[in-house]
Structures are given as C-alpha cells and as structure tokens.
Amino acid sequence: MSESTGSGVQAPSAATDDDQVRAVELAVEAVLFAAAEPVEPRDLKAACEDMGEVDQALLEQALGRLQERYQDRAIELVRSAGGYRFRVRSRFSATVQAAQPERPARLSRALLETLAIIAYRQPVTRAEIEAVRGVAVSSGIMRTLQEREWVRVVGHKEVPGRPALYATTRGFLDDLGLKRLEDLPPLDQIRDLADVASDAGLSLTPPETDEDAGPGTNQRLELDVAGPEPAPPTRSS
C-alpha cells in the first residue's frame, strides 16, 4: 500500500484495524470465560489464528479494551502467574458467598506452615521442612498440597536416598492472585546470630563455619542459601 492514497483509504484501513481489534477482543473474551484456569497469552493468540497476524501489540490492545469494557462491572480482567482470567471483583465477594453458602474448609496450620516453608525455601526436601517445623510432615499434607496443585516435585536432591525436592506451582500463585513468587509477603528477617551472641553477652564466631556440614546438620543454615530473596525486613515482634 502506497502512502499516496491519502485519507480516503486511511479511514477504511483504520476501520479494518478497529474491526480486527474488536474481533480479537471478542475471541479473547470467549476463551477467557470458557476456561476454568488463567489463559496464557500464547494460547490467546492461538485462538485468533484465523484472524490473520495477531501480534503482541494487537493482543494487548484487545486486552486493554476488554479491561476497559468491564471497568465498572462486577467482574474484572486480571493477570496472574498463569495468564489472564476474569474474576469477580472483591467488593462482590460477600454477594457471591451469600449465594454459595458452603464455605471451603479452612486450611490447617500444619498445611499452611508446610506450604509457607516450601514457598519461601523452594526447592526443599521433606526432611528440611521437618527440620524447620520440628515435627514430622504427614504424607497426607504433602499429597493434599500436590493434589491441589499448589506444590509439585521438581527434582531430587543428590544425597543418599535422593529425596524429592518440592516447589510451588503457578497454580499456587494464581490462587493467590500473584504474578510471581517475589510478590509473596516478605519473610521476617531473622536476627543475625552475631547479634544474638552479643545480646547474650557471648563472643561467637559467625555461623558460616557450619555451612559445610551434611544435610542432617546444616538444615537450619540453608535459610541463607535457598529460597526467594528475603525482601526488606519487616520486623514484627
């Protein structure tokens, strides 16, 4: 298309573009409402494949319009780790709950603590979880977490017995409406052992000396090594 055509052609061209955006918008809308889970941008593009070239810009334009379209509705278009989804706006949660009287069961503290350790320490073995909690972690909890698709085995630690290494999934982030692991609330900072020592009126060597110990003995020190970056300390006592 030559540029000499002027506005006489520009207008229809713009209209065509607009039609295309609208077509993509509706296709995306259909896919998102049909899906039970968040949908990745890649799959959204695949849904529009018979509409010609749908590039990132066009997709984003369509998503933007969709978002706008539901601006003042009861639902909203959100993005979390697994992609895009529609969800009911939180101010209507009570309304939905009133219509769905059965509350999901509360999660036990044992399960939540296990989940928290996996989330912040991943990848982590069951023995390491147990070392932190001070009690055995039941198979039931590990299986429930996996069944709920919040946790999965990502590998095996190369130590005797090759214990499974657990990590959280995208579904875990999706269920909490998070985009990435770093969006989790930060862990409280543990006070340095040197401080501990000086508080206790002792002179101590720093804990690094222990780091070379086997998996049995140094579990407590792995804190500094693994896991997502502990964000700025929010010390709540």
């Binding site: 039970a36 529609f86 503290r109 069944e147 609330p185 052992l193």
Partner: protein, 289 residues
C-alpha cells in the same frame, strides 16, 4: 532460680504437684489433672484438650511458652521454660493426648541444655554451640517463628474460591469433538487416591448393596416434589422384587435421616406419603437468546 530446683524440675516432672515461683499450679484432683493456666489466658477446662492439641509441635509449644511471658527468644530462661514445658507434656500425657515423639525429644534436648549449662565450660572449645547450648535451639525457634508468621500471612492473602471467585461461563453451546470420557480405571484410581488421603479405609463394609441405596436415594429425591406428597407405596416397585423394595425402603430411611424428605399422613391408617423438604425448584423454562 536455684539450680537444684531446676534439676528437679527436669528429672522429676510434676506428676503430683508443683508450684512455680510465679504461682502457676498444675496438679491433679482425684487423679484428674487440673491445670490452672496463666492469668493472661483463660481457658475453660473443657477447652484444655483442644488448647493443648492445637500446638503444631514442640517448637510451637515452646514459642507459646516464651511469648506468653513476653520474653525475647534470645533470652530464654531455660530452666523456667523447661519446667513449664514438662508441665504441659505431663498434662498432655494425663489427658492421653497423642504425644508425638517429637515432644519427648524436645524434652530431652531441654534437659540436656540445662545440664550443660550447669557444667563448667571448658575455655578452649568455644564455638557458638558450645559457648551457649541454647544457641541451636534459639536459632530453630527463630526460624520456626519466621515461618509460622509467614504461614499466617499466606492464609490472610485473598484466596481463589474462598475470598475471590473466578468468573466463568457455560460452554454447553459450544461444538467440537467430544472431550474424553471417564474410564473405569481412571475413576477407580482417582477414588483410591482420595480414599488414601482422607483415611477412608475404614469403610470396609460399604458394599454394592449400599451403593444401590445411594443411587435410589438420588432417584427418589428427584421424583419427589416439595409441594406435592407422593404415596410411599408408589415408590416401592413390585417389579423389582424383594430386593428392590428393600433398597427403596433403605433409601427412604436414609433420606429421612439426612432430613431431605418429610413424611405425612392425613389420618390414622391412611396411606403414608412423602415429599421433598423445602421449597420448590423452578420448573423448566424456555431459553431466551
């Protein structure tokens, strides 16, 4: 606190009576354990078991004991904490709560720390752990508390299906190749997994008989109206033979027990009639575009 008392507290847990310096009393009356819990936390006797059962483990219990007294973890008064810890363990034992081995391991650790603190320290071997036997425990407690807090925050985040809800629409109108159906193997495998998880293994006696009752419960419930009574006898189909009648009868009993249906009789010896409890479900309506 006198070191001899500390030792006694460990080697001789409060089996009968012990009064601590802070006035905490833990004793038995006629063999029944009675715990007078700290003033900052009133726990009705009935709730004691629930209370003790609610600890997630020895670290959790220790943390509670430390926090209750508003103490810094870094300055655990080992002797006092050990005494209280042993007291709680004793109550758990007396109430026959399932006392996990971890609690006893912790008790042993506390005792060890105490005893080591009483010993004169060899000057030469002064690494951190040796310098103060509390160090390892303190670190463990700190770390546990860190994740305990993290778990609470995790639970407080808005969660799908509890606090927020996905928005979806029916895909019934859509056409396409039929999606896969369930195979018997898949179904059985899935159920086996659930049963394991839910400790359903006690259901040894659920038989095919009961399953037919379950099915009949569904069909009877479906056939009953909330507003109209149905003749009980009409539900018992002679064509099904004796077994069919028994199944229907059991199904009706089960539904009654579950409070899903109600019985009626207009006068003595008149036919017994049933109806579904509750208000009617809307009748079929036409679809609007």
């Amino acid at each position: 606190m006198d070191t001899r008392d500390e030792l006694n507290a460990v080697s001789d847990p409060p089996a009968t009576a012990e009064t601590g310096a802070d006035g905490e009393v833990l004793y038995r009356v006629h063999g029944e354990p009675v715990a007078e819990l700290p003033a900052d936390l009133y726990i009705p006797p009935d709730a004691l078991e629930v209370f003790l059962d609610s600890f997630e483990g020895p670290l959790d219990l220790l943390l509670y004991l430390i926090r209750r007294q508003n103490l810094d973890i870094l300055a655990i008064p080992i002797a006092e904490i050990t005494r209280q810890y042993m007291a709680y363990i004793e109550v758990m034992r007396a109430l026959r709560l399932e006392l996990a081995g971890e609690y006893l391991v912790m008790a042993a650790l506390l005792a060890e720390i105490k005893s080591r603190m009483l010993l004169p320290r060899p000057k030469e071997a002064e690494t951190d752990e040796d310098a103060d036997p509390r160090m390892a425990l303190i670190r463990q407690l700190q770390e546990y508390e860190q994740f305990k807090t993290a778990a609470e925050r995790l639970d407080a985040l808005p969660r799908m299906d509890r606090d927020v809800f996905a928005a979806g629409a029916s895909v019934e109108a859509l056409e396409g190749p039929p999606p896969p159906g369930p195979t018997m193997d898949e179904l059985m495998e899935a159920l086996a997994a659930v049963m394991h998880r839910a400790s359903l293994m006690a259901h040894h006696h659920v038989s095919t008989e009961q399953l037919s009752v379950r099915e009949r419960m569904s069909s009877i419930l479906d056939s009953l109206h909330p507003e109209r009574f149905t003749d009980f006898v009409a539900l018992l189909l002679a064509a099904e033979g004796r077994q069919g009648v028994v199944v229907s009868f059991l199904a009706v009993l089960e539904l009654t027990k579950a409070g899903l249906i109600e019985w009626g009789q207009s006068e003595p010896y008149s036919p017994i009639r049933l109806r579904r409890r509750g208000t009617p479900v809307d009748d079929e309506g036409g679809e609007s575009a």
